[in-house]
Symmetry: C2
Subunit: 301 residues, 2 copies
């Protein structure tokens, strides 16, 4: 998996730090999560082709998470997109987008399908051959979901050494990868495990922003490889975090620890803090493997 | 007057060229015209204080002219604005903005007054002690207005040399500036023109984007000091200009010539052209005083 942070500032975009948006790339698929104002420029900066974006997941309808969506949709149209776009987001997103398309008389010449979310329980919302995407209900001032990307168990791998030994034909590869035994010409059976290697371990990524400290997350994200958790505030503004239903760096790290995840990425920083290292220091009291999000930063896992 | 170009690209924002937005500063007042995506970042780059923006004029509801407005409004709120904001724009703008504020449950703690425009005739829409703003009905695919900023005739200026000669008190200055004669203690009357100088010539600025070639403009903008006129295309794409109801550089220059304006600024360039000098060359065939808009460029007049 490859995670590209396009923006991780909370509230107000600044010259060199944009509001929330990121791209998670899994196999050949690429998913856009949230779309703050200016996201299309951030995507260009990363030299990511617009046409590769086919699914967009919007966590909630605060502006710093979706004000860039209408611009992206319009640019897709102006640049001649023809392939479908699927948008997953809270109820209301369809009305907001279509109202603007109506007044501008700029209907897209590609199909947009809105998948409006309203469930308070985690649900499977997207699936392809390689991954499943589940919602992670969060606790914020308005209806908000995080998103859990789980790779499916992959296929077994052919052990090249055995291909020569047993003179295996490439036409058998597909069945072998699926775990079937090999039947030789003399009708002898070779056990699958002798000629294949186990599949790579499926990876998982959880995006949780925005949310207050919310232990209900733990059940859903237990054991994920990477968790992006918002930490708008530091401990000195703990009361403000509670009031605005955001998290501190400590909150995020406590959730990471309880969920036994492997790596934590902090983001959605309030612009009031000059030195982002304080977020690291506060989080590391509770959880060791922490990194900070930053515009343009890429995480490979 | 001071004109700051924040963006002058048409359609799609690019990394170093944003969509339409500009600020015209007249006396102590500052007016935002159009507000493409990312305008708030452009305002920051120019080190212009957000609190100085009190009136916003939106030409039409194509995204490259207003997608940044909701973000600007939200940032005003997050940064603690309390003063009123007046928005002048086509019918529909109120519905678009309030729908997004409703879903985000982020009502502003300052008052926004929407002045929705629907007239097909030029009308006076704003006035203060120093200027008047009129609409300029344009001819585009959807309802669109340009805006004409006309300084009022200024006050006469006190001739400092005469202040000493006649021992004029500062308490008389206001009446003298308004053109009244001076009555001396011995009841002699000194003619105003002897002790004051004529006011500066009132300046005028016309913003016309987006529009096809439209001679009806001429009557409204005749004699203005500066005209910003869109020139999305060059002559080689004349047919495309007609089809999309945009102008070529020649169209803009012809309007400038017929209107006997003093200076023409071209903008709203299609991203298809690498070398913007071709716009200058085409326009200068018809009108000499032409300049090209460019992000961050400032025109003083």
């Amino acid at each position: 998996m490859k995670l590209t942070i396009l923006g991780c500032n909370s509230g107000v975009p600044r010259e060199n730090s944009q509001t929330t948006s990121q791209i998670i790339e899994i196999g050949n698929s690429l998913f856009l999560i949230d779309c703050g104002e200016g996201t299309q420029n951030q995507i260009r900066k990363q030299k990511i082709k617009f046409s590769r974006i086919k699914q967009v997941f919007i966590s909630h309808l605060h502006g710093d998470h979706f004000f860039g969506l209408i611009g992206l949709i319009s640019s897709f149209r102006l640049l001649g997109r023809t392939s479908n776009l699927d948008i997953y987001g809270p109820k209301g997103i369809k009305e907001i987008i279509t109202l603007q398309l109506k007044y501008s008389q700029s209907w897209t010449n590609y199909q947009i399908t809105f998948h409006e979310l309203s469930s308070l329980e985690s649900e499977l919302i997207y699936e392809n051959d390689f991954i499943r995407v589940f919602t992670i209900p969060l606790k914020h001032r308005i209806y908000t979901n995080g998103f859990l990307f789980k790779e499916k168990k992959g296929l077994r791998k052919i052990n090249i050494d055995m291909v020569n030994k047993y003179n295996i034909s490439t036409s058998d590869f597909e069945n072998l990868k699926k775990g079937k035994d090999l039947i030789l010409d003399d009708e002898n059976i070779i056990n699958n495990e002798l000629i294949t290697l186990p599949p790579s371990k499926p990876m998982s990524y959880a995006f949780c922003s925005d949310t207050s400290y919310h232990e209900d997350l733990v059940d859903i994200i237990t054991g994920v490889d990477v968790l992006y958790h918002e930490s708008t505030f530091l401990n000195i503004h703990q009361e403000l975090a509670k009031l605005t239903k955001h998290s501190t760096a400590s909150d995020a790290a406590k959730i990471a620890k309880k969920s036994k995840i492997k790596n934590l990425i902090l983001g959605h920083f309030s612009a009031r803090y000059r030195d982002k290292k304080d977020f690291l220091n506060e989080a590391r009291v509770h959880f060791e493997n922490v990194e900070l999000a930053e515009d343009g930063k890429i995480f490979i896992f």
